[in-house]
Symmetry: C2
């Protein structure tokens, strides 16, 4: 069971989370909880760091941020003990949650579950600090945005858990962000693949690394609200019936920053060099477009999250000096996308999306697609409007069974 | 260099502490900093725990409290890096600061200084989290009140440091607490033995375990203010000249709680059993008095810090059932004491103290002495008055050289 920051924001919420865990325990199950930092603790810590340094060393940032979850785990153990349930809290170091040493964005290598099993077998509820890990040298790391969900799935996979519940402040995964799209609907079941696309496209509920982990180890995740006992959304392996739904959800990524490199020498290996440098700087690159200009040089564009602007500019400026190219930055972009495994077997999805955007007067700056998604890069100011337009175009606010019949299936055989 | 909570209470104070460390580093010294939790962080964390549980498990309390120092170490490293000085922070676990598993009052067993030396030799300033340790199993422990000073001395001893500076919000050790005794004077030099007595008698500046450690490894501690560059108080091994001063300081312990066990069977082993049980409960017992009553049973009294009341009552009630004795509790007591290695060679010290208290109408409930201190247990309401009276009786507000000549030396030879 994982409880996010808003679900453990104060003493009462911690007690409520503890009570949910206790109910499972009393039903005879062994329970491991993964918890995030309380409420806005992480933001408060980041603010403290900024008061000290504009560009704090990442190792020290991790050392600082890891305290947030450590506070919650100990308080959660206290809450359970106060209810008469034996409990024990563990930091990442205490259960050998070993990661690489890429501070602020570390990846989990291994978990030593012996100590967890020991304590579960002794009848205790075990509480694990989300978001954090340790390097083989014992330095603290953090797993990046949504890292507690990664911890949840990694622990569930390592323990071969029967169930994996992700408690949050929303009722589940929606067809679009309900804060932007008022008639968005909760999705009952969604495949890992769709969730992966939605997560990487800006749906904030689950981090894509968490879903990748879940898919790899086939851990079904139940995303549900900590405020009620409603069923939420089950994220599971794809089933055939899922393909009947053309589009499962729409997503908006609002904080995109585009870098265009112009006058790039058009010779083999240059693109590789550019993206190698960016990867070395641990910058996650979104869409990439390369074109050849009339003067025979290449233009290479890519988008990154605005959070990576500082790192990106540093890398790009180094590249421009070495390659004698010019960089142009465009900050105010957004990306609207639709996702659905049904796209594999239905036609006309792209046309329907482009037509809806055009009718709303929204200009598409570029298009990227995968087997199960279509994305359009647009002006940030029109992002929210675009999400509502696309959501309506596919009738995502209606029950899947009430939506208009999809276009006829392709003649080509379905891929297996 | 150790900086207490008030010396790292906000970003500016952290920068000021960093600047002091940097000055040492620039003078060519290797510097290790030990830091406490910022300002009232620890109180805030304790308050959080109390919102969750009236009696939280001590292991979880340690897991919680250790976060306070972890925040400070990372911010201090950031502050130094922002000044262009390479720095690295270490939690107790990261430098193998192994303790026993007596949570909330752990004792240090060993420190693995290799990682510290490595980083110092690489030119970095090393910042160590005070107050905390880890068990051999990796569970976090804390070292009890004043634990960061214990960390300071333990690290200094392990590194065979040339100097050991304890920065705090006062100018040094005073002849009495200046908040209670307005004419209290700063002491220039004091012996470990005197400091030990003063610390265990209620002088809050340094914890007695820190001084014991310093004495054992002969680490001179310079207690000084983080707000100015004045010389503070040097705590050093005793020298002969120190004996010229009859009394070095006076102290008041205000929060004492006395337990009197009545009708205790007067047979061998009973007292041992009582204090074994208290020790097992990790209760620090202050003065002990045993008397035989007219009915042939014994009365055993002892004082404890009021912080240990809950634990003490639990142990005492168990004992009363087993030994069929009765417990009487008296809460409102204080202890006023004078300390000085000069007592060994001067007479009339006790008489002077008792006369001064009698003249002020302060009743002495009982007296305990050691070779270099005299203590009187009195009513708590008269505690502060008693401290002022005793401080004046020994002219502690005047320079040692201006005080009245001490009574003639004893005829007996001085002990070596």
């Amino acid at each position: 069971m994982k409880f996010g920051g808003s679900s453990v924001a104060d003493a009462d919420k911690i007690r409520a989370a503890a009570a949910r865990a206790l109910a499972h325990r009393k039903a005879g199950r062994q329970v491991v909880m993964v918890v995030s930092a309380m409420g806005d603790t992480t933001d408060h810590l980041i603010d403290l760091a900024r008061q000290i340094s504009a560009d704090p060393p990442k190792r020290e940032m991790d050392q600082l941020l890891a305290t947030g979850e450590q506070v919650t785990i100990s308080l959660m153990a206290m809450a359970l003990e106060a209810m008469g349930q034996r409990a024990i809290s563990f930091t990442a170091g205490q259960i050998g949650m070993i990661t690489d040493d890429v501070h602020t964005k570390a990846r989990i290598h291994s978990i030593d579950v012996r100590r967890i099993h020991q304590q579960l077998d002794a009848g205790k509820i075990v509480i694990v600090a989300g978001f954090q890990g340790v390097t083989a040298d014992g330095d603290l790391t953090t797993l990046g945005r949504g890292g507690s969900n990664v911890t949840l799935v990694a622990v569930a996979a390592a323990l071969k858990a029967a169930e994996c519940e992700n408690y949050t402040d929303v009722d589940g995964i929606y067809t679009a962000d309900p804060r932007i799209v008022p008639n968005a609907r909760k999705i009952d079941r969604i495949s890992y693949e769709e969730m992966l696309e939605l997560a990487s496209l800006g749906a904030n509920v689950l981090h894509n690394r968490a879903v990748e982990f879940a898919k790899k180890y086939n851990v079904p995740i139940h995303v549900r609200s900590s405020l009620n006992t409603n069923k939420g959304t089950l994220i599971v392996a794809e089933t055939e019936s899922m393909e009947r739904i053309v589009v499962s959800g729409a997503a908006l990524k609002e904080k995109l920053f585009r870098v265009s490199l112009r006058k790039v020498p058009d010779r083999p290996g240059v693109a590789a060099r550019i993206f190698h440098q960016l990867a070395t700087g641990n910058i996650v690159v979104d869409d990439i477009i390369q074109t050849i200009d009339s003067d025979g040089t290449a233009s290479v564009s890519f988008t990154v999250d605005t959070g990576d602007v500082t790192d990106t500019r540093r890398v790009v400026e180094g590249l421009c000096r070495k390659l004698s190219c010019q960089a142009v930055y465009q900050e105010n972009l957004a990306k609207v996308s639709v996702v659905g495994v049904g796209m594999r077997v239905h036609t006309g999805v792209a046309e329907r999306m482009f037509a809806a955007l055009a009718q709303a007067g929204i200009n598409i700056q570029n298009i990227t697609t995968s087997e199960i998604k279509i994305s359009c890069l647009i002006d940030r100011a029109q992002g929210r409007e675009a999400l509502r337009v696309v959501h309506d175009a596919f009738e995502l606010g209606a029950k899947p069974s009430d939506r208009k019949a999809p276009a006829p299936a392709r003649k080509t055989p379905r891929r297996q």
